[in-house]
Symmetry: D3
Subunit: 234 residues, 6 copies
């Protein structure tokens, strides 16, 4: 748990832009979820373990308001979410039925869920914003989920925005969207991420002094030396 806390703390200062660059070096190109965006402009970066939910398309005999009372319901899924998790919802990219509204988001906020991320949309966006739950999604739609989607289960492997997400994968989301980090690569991105951010900070300071990019970014030998000197001088 201590290791987990350290990981989450370390990743809290690494952008999703940096994470995708690092994962690309390991051959992973498909880790950023398409279409999902922060619902508010100054939404804080979020780091946490994936708690997955899965919807399939609606069929009129299955997707009814009555289904909301079934044990395998979105309500049941929310009660199973541990504090600090990031709920990742496979809505199959459906944008004309809101998966959750203000009441479900309020309950998630109560339970200490870190964020809601989906390739679908929410409903009652005014109320959702009022709950202060951090949300990444494709926008808002008035119709309830049952107008287009049927809830199936939680903690299964899912797709979200064209990306595979497995239960308990590590998720980071910021203004550029949401990224999944496979378990086996967490230590790598934690180790490299801090250094990468430090180097980019130095590059920005060089650019601000008027240094051209060729030779600086990526760095040639001379630039690398200057960077090392800058690090020592700090």
């Amino acid at each position: 748990m201590e290791h987990e806390s350290k990981t989450i703390a370390a990743l809290a200062s690494v952008t999703t832009a940096t994470l995708t660059t690092l994962l690309l070096k390991k051959g992973l190109r498909n880790v950023w979820m398409r279409g999902t965006q922060p619902v508010r402009s100054e939404q804080a970066r979020v780091v946490g373990r994936a708690f997955t939910l899965r919807f399939i398309p609606a069929r009129e005999d299955q997707a009814t308001p009555e289904s909301w009372a079934k044990p395998t319901s979105t309500r049941g899924a929310i009660e199973a979410m541990p504090a600090g998790c990031v709920a990742i919802v496979d809505a199959r990219g459906v944008t004309d039925a809101g998966i959750f509204g203000d009441i479900l988001c309020a309950r998630m906020q109560q339970r200490g869920v870190a964020a809601l991320i989906t390739d679908g949309v929410v409903r009652d966006i005014h109320g959702v914003l009022g709950t202060h739950l951090p949300v990444w999604c494709q926008g808002a739609a008035a119709p309830p989920s049952v107008a287009g989607l049927t809830f199936v289960n939680w903690q299964e492997p899912i797709g979200c925005g064209g990306v595979a997400v497995f239960p308990d994968d590590l998720i980071v989301a910021d203004d550029d969207g949401a990224v999944v980090i496979p378990q086996a690569l967490i230590d790598f991105v934690v180790d490299e991420g801090e250094e990468h951010e430090r180097y980019e900070t130095w590059v920005v300071s060089e650019v601000e002094k008027g240094v051209p990019l060729p030779g600086l970014y990526p760095a040639n030998e001379e630039a690398k030396k200057r960077y090392e000197d800058w690090k020592k001088a700090k």
Copy 2:
């Protein structure tokens, strides 16, 4: 007319999320217009009767600046709009030609039109925002309507965002988008809407106390009783 005023007043406090839930109970799944969003973030909810306009694709021999002076023009349509109506424009989802700019929106605002809703886009968005006309659309584009669309007629049955709209249907729009209410179901949604909103207010207050959702939303017998007690106590 008094009944109409009461209806509009009653629906002014019912969200489109609630309306789509109620209409779904009556078997109507396709009443929310896809793609159309409020042009500003704090735009007030709008309720009014639909005044429909219909465009077809542009053909170079038909869609010319000269056509704007014809009697069956968008200008003629605007002069036919009654105060309080909601102009619903079938732009066939075209997003690279703005149906209206600041001048037409200014005239609509002058005439007391309640709102402009379209599955297309507007142009001169800076000027449109300046008119203070409430607008729901897919965004902005610089080209004039004739670059992609030809105006045909007004007060015909249309499609808008994948939804059928007939002249004088009741329209409600808010932060979640725009919904059509068929004439025959207006009294039903007015009657049920107020109660639905009251119940959801109570649910939110329960959630804020830490009550889990299963059994509460939808309510089991015990929750129903508590809700009835809460209503009496108010």
Copy 3:
């Protein structure tokens, strides 16, 4: 150069909505770039000469972080950009790989580039906004360009948002998006643009007095006379 400065100054007060209307009169319907929007809401209008960049899809053996150090790189392109130019980037509409991040935008801002316009997306949007470089794009994505795109060359004819752009075409961008003005039509739009804006200002003032649009916009003979009187009286 003086003529150029006058052109740019003159076009600084002509909206892209007006420009597309004027170009349509000359038979040009396809001059507005689809999909690209200002990244911030109060972004100032930009006028400048196109400096084109071209990407093709990524191939894993070509699009690598290592390629960033090649002479024909985005870094090289930026060093070739003259002050005041508008960088127009053909990203083939790809929205899951950011063409540029904060460091490249910071360098462009340093070099006096007037704006970055693309039918793709940027990355590290938080940092990009911090550079204050004016940007028109489709949004943000975390992955680096090499995850989806390979940079090819600069100052070639390109497509951007479904529009042909040739090096040194004149570009104007505002809240409605970005428009290309072919070289041969610059003097025409400068001459007509000022008058068009003046006339629309007068129309708005008439509308605010309650004058209906038919006969006013477009103007009939009587309205034309009143407009001429208004101009003289100014």
Copy 4:
């Protein structure tokens, strides 16, 4: 009527490829209907006057099997179709509800309708092929039209495949799809079409002899002379 028959006979040997080239010379770029294709591979070229039908999206309270018995129904429209007309159906590009099946197509065939053209799909494709009615569409779907569409009216201006079609416009369809010819340009395309086809026949014969295209197509002065000689020799 005689003129009409001659027109139709003349256009029976002009390809839609030639027609779009000729109309482009007159400034009409948007006359070919997107998405609609012949349902069988050796379907004969069709020429006729447009008889338009218009659908809007389905609303569950309107689009029911019961609606098929209303006077303003697709059945009523078919009985109003004159022999030799080309039925053009605006299905708004909907591909998951078949506008017509075998029975309606059989009745159209009985009434001497020349062809059915739509930007939607048909249903019971096996039966439709059996009626021998020439059909251009986007393919087949099992659900009835009421599952996605509501029929509105006939002989109104419509859009089909992104093209404006007015009642009684002339329509030509072949293996490349369907084209609309505005009334005012019919004589032009009849006059030019025959010559254009003759010239292309000669070009093909030259190509088969091994003549390169530059100078031949388009023709330079020398090639024009050779072509004129060939025409005289025929």
Copy 5:
């Protein structure tokens, strides 16, 4: 089992067009799978129980040729398929990675699988056609499934072509595509289907005699009587 055989035999002569009409009468509008088509033109109608397979997007660390040897692989799924079942594969509409090629199709054919239906594509289409397995899909692509998809599991609820499919739902597929029949409605469609097909046969025969559709389809009282007489006379 006998009942099952009778059901399958009865449905073998009912078109998917008829089935969607009947299910619509029961309020089910979303039962036809979008995008999936027969791979050959004279493919026989198929009826059988759904055996579901589920893919999610590919992640480079999961979707490898090595994964094909895992126990939860597509190979394992095929060995679990009972004879006569219809394999329904949720490929999330991905069209640039073929889910199965000739070898897997050959094994399915060996095991007596009735058909393969997917909203994705197959690969090695030449070989797949050679196996004679009936297939409904979106076409062909050369890349292996692991280039875009990761196999997850079988016999779970899935989405296919925008339709919910549960294990053991009844599936019917013909030239118009594939339809799911929920368990609770099987007896209804078997009972109604035969009569519906008989009635449509009679309507076609009437149309061939020149009877107009209004009053005939749907039938008025007089037509109903004539139909009943026709039935008795058979």
Copy 6:
């Protein structure tokens, strides 16, 4: 040249399905061109060097019938094509303007061009089929290229169907579509391809004997041994 001939001969019996599998093993996932299909069902496999052509969107002042006579025209490009090359055309996925018709295809056939491959469409499809030039494309459209596209240049790096193609890359196309093989990997795929096809032939023969796939495909040690025995016995 002899090596080239051997390469082409060797690849003539390797499917694109096999090639994408082999290239994936080398980390190349994006080598198959999306959307492009053979225009006839029994079109023979084609192998050859890429000769690239590039279009950008049309601008009315650039894309005119007159432009066809310019030196940098599609006609000029065709005269530059060497015998045996595969013309790969970047049409930016435009499907409403045909890049080439029967005359240009006839000239390519005359010059010994091996095939035409594009992510766009052809026109006068009836005539194109008559030239017997092998073509892979998205279908047919009547309008000429200038209705939507402007030709720019040949033998530049391009994108086609979402794939990067460089001049002289090796191209293979069959019923599953078209694949690019980077220069550096040609010897690898030639070496592995033949063995891969042999192994799959053996697997099919095993499947036809009723052997289940797990353990066979991919092969376990026992299956590998049997395969080696089978090879020796041949």
